[in-house]
């Protein structure tokens, strides 16, 4: 489902963000990703959504090889996933309803399907009374829920969320995690980046990965997931 092998990412400035990263997530899995700021989480998510290219290595998601996708196929790939950003990325010239409905418009769903799906997901995130409001008038937590609703409204195969509970209190945070669990039980693969230790502890049964200095470790493991390091020079990189 999600397969990253020997992924390196180096920016033009020479900064090495990801080093020989190896990650396998099976269909329907629920995975947490933890790590300090600057560890490479956001870069990893950008790579997984096709907004960054790897310097070397392979990224394969939902049978799409992201390193060789055409512009059109990249769009099709993104329709099969849902993404929640730290900064929400909402459109402030449209209502909550229109923001949440965007993925359905892109999938060319008919009007009634759009209304039904958006109403359902807004009820789930507790925003059904605010569907006509402009997101600019909502609190941080509400904006976060709009972003989550938009990411889940089209039942994506994979959901990637960057700090989805960062702006929420514990009660809402639990409700959102419950929502993610429901989506996961329907078959959506989840990759959630979080700083919230409490959220992880309440979901001990899920896989947990730690990302540090551009390398990824599975919780409890001592070696990075890409433990058989590909020599850096062989990868065309020189980080020393």
């Amino acid at each position: 489902m999600v397969s990253l092998s020997h992924v390196y990412k180096t920016y033009v400035s020479g900064q090495h963000v990801l080093k020989n990263l190896q990650l396998e997530v099976a269909n329907g899995e629920f995975v947490f990703l933890m790590g300090p700021s600057g560890a490479g989480k956001t870069t990893l998510f950008k790579i997984m959504t096709g907004f960054e290219k790897v310097s070397s290595g392979h990224v394969k998601i939902n049978d799409y090889d992201l390193s060789s996708l055409s512009s059109r196929n990249m769009a099709y790939f993104r329709r099969s996933i849902g993404v929640v950003f730290q900064d929400f990325k909402l459109l402030y010239d449209r209502s909550v309803f229109e923001n949440v409905a965007l993925p359905l418009y892109i999938l060319k769903k008919n009007k009634w399907e759009v209304i039904e799906s958006v109403d359902r997901i807004l009820r789930k995130v507790g925003l059904s009374k605010k569907s006509d409001e402009n997101p600019a008038h909502l609190s941080g937590g509400e904006k976060q829920r709009v972003a989550i609703a938009r990411a889940l409204v089209h039942d994506p195969m994979l959901l990637i969320a960057d700090e989805p509970t960062g702006n929420l209190d514990w009660r809402l945070s639990n409700e959102i995690m419950e929502l993610f669990s429901q989506a996961n039980s329907k078959g959506t693969t989840m990759i959630i980046a979080t700083h919230d230790q409490g959220v992880v502890e309440r979901n001990k049964s899920k896989r947990l990965f730690q990302i540090e200095a551009g390398q990824i470790f599975e919780s409890g493991g001592q070696q990075p997931c890409g433990q058989f390091f590909k020599p850096l020079k062989e990868a065309g990189l020189n980080i020393l």
Binding site: F51, S71, F77, R79, S80, L102
Partner: protein
């Protein structure tokens, strides 16, 4: 298509000032361009107003028989370039000369039978439009033709120096008009593509979000291209309408500068030319918009697009 128009509507409501001022500037530019093109198509008619003073004189050899004069008269009567003519005999010529001589000299001209020194000639008034068509090719061929046909004609005088000057002014004016038309056209295209650029720049966050949720390039950028086309098309039509109104006003109001006869010869741009200009404007703005959009794309997206095109 509905979503494209929704996007354009949104863009107009968000950037009303920018869009409407661009519309005004483009309308002015297209108006100027169409005006110059209109002047260009009527340039010979307008210039021929100055050609009133030009007169063709067909000088006959001494002793030309009256039958030959009749034949020449018939020829002139039937020729489309000739509007009117009259025969000036040697006595009338001599009298005219004597009149002019007394104006410039205090002496009296006393030459016996002076009229013998003056040839008889036809004074021909030309049909301006035909005479000055195709840089006076019509007038020159008329002069050469009549001389070749009648051996009794000594020479044909049609103010060659004046005509040469006239031709060079006409040609220079035409070049200036072509240059201005091109300049205005490019200006209109630049204005239109800068509107596209401004809107894309203002929408860059929205575009990023749309890309994240899987919108393809067509649905993201098509509204901008269509918006540019609509701006171009509507401002072109407004410019055309304004010029048509002006043309109708001018062509139906005789003045000291343009006589009724000259006005009757003026014509508006042909439908084919209008359609051609419209199509070229739309195609050019589409091309300008696409280039602008491509230039504004992030490098990674350009690479993906170019890779896709090269496949």
């Amino acid at each position: 298509m509905w979503s494209v128009f929704q996007a354009i509507k949104r863009s107009w409501s968000q950037h009303f000032v920018g869009q409407s001022s661009s519309f005004v500037i483009m309308s002015m530019t297209f108006s100027a361009m169409i005006f110059v093109t209109l002047a260009l198509t009527n340039i010979q008619t307008l210039f021929s107003v100055w050609g009133q003073a030009s007169q063709v004189s067909i000088y006959l050899k001494t002793g030309t028989k009256s039958e030959v004069q009749k034949q020449i008269s018939m020829f002139l009567k039937e020729h489309e370039i000739v509007k009117d003519y009259r025969v000036v005999d040697s006595k009338e010529s001599a009298a005219n000369f004597e009149k002019k001589f007394t104006k410039i000299s205090s002496e009296k001209l006393e030459v016996a039978e002076i009229h013998k020194f003056f040839p008889e000639f036809f004074s021909v008034q030309l049909n301006q439009t035909i005479a000055y068509k195709s840089s006076f090719g019509g007038l020159e061929s008329f002069a050469k033709g009549i001389q070749a046909k009648f051996k009794e004609i000594k020479s044909v005088s049609y103010g060659k120096r004046w005509l040469d000057r006239y031709v060079s002014i006409l040609s220079m004016t035409e070049w200036v008009a072509y240059f201005l038309t091109t300049l205005f056209f490019i200006a209109a295209m630049i204005v239109s593509s800068s509107v596209v650029k401004t809107i894309i720049f203002a929408r860059r966050d929205e575009i990023e979000i749309m890309e994240f949720i899987g919108a393809d390039d067509l649905s993201i950028y098509l509204p901008q291209v269509v918006n540019g086309m609509l701006l171009t098309g509507s401002s072109f039509l407004l410019g055309l309408g304004l010029n048509y109104g002006l043309f109708m006003k001018v062509s139906t109001t005789p003045s000291s500068l343009l006589s009724q006869a000259t006005l009757a010869k003026l014509h508006f741009l042909s439908p084919v030319l209008i359609f051609g200009m419209f199509v070229v404007a739309i195609l050019a703005v589409t091309l300008f918009s696409l280039v602008t959009i491509f230039n504004l794309m992030p490098r990674r997206k350009k690479a993906v697009l170019l890779r896709g095109l090269s496949r």
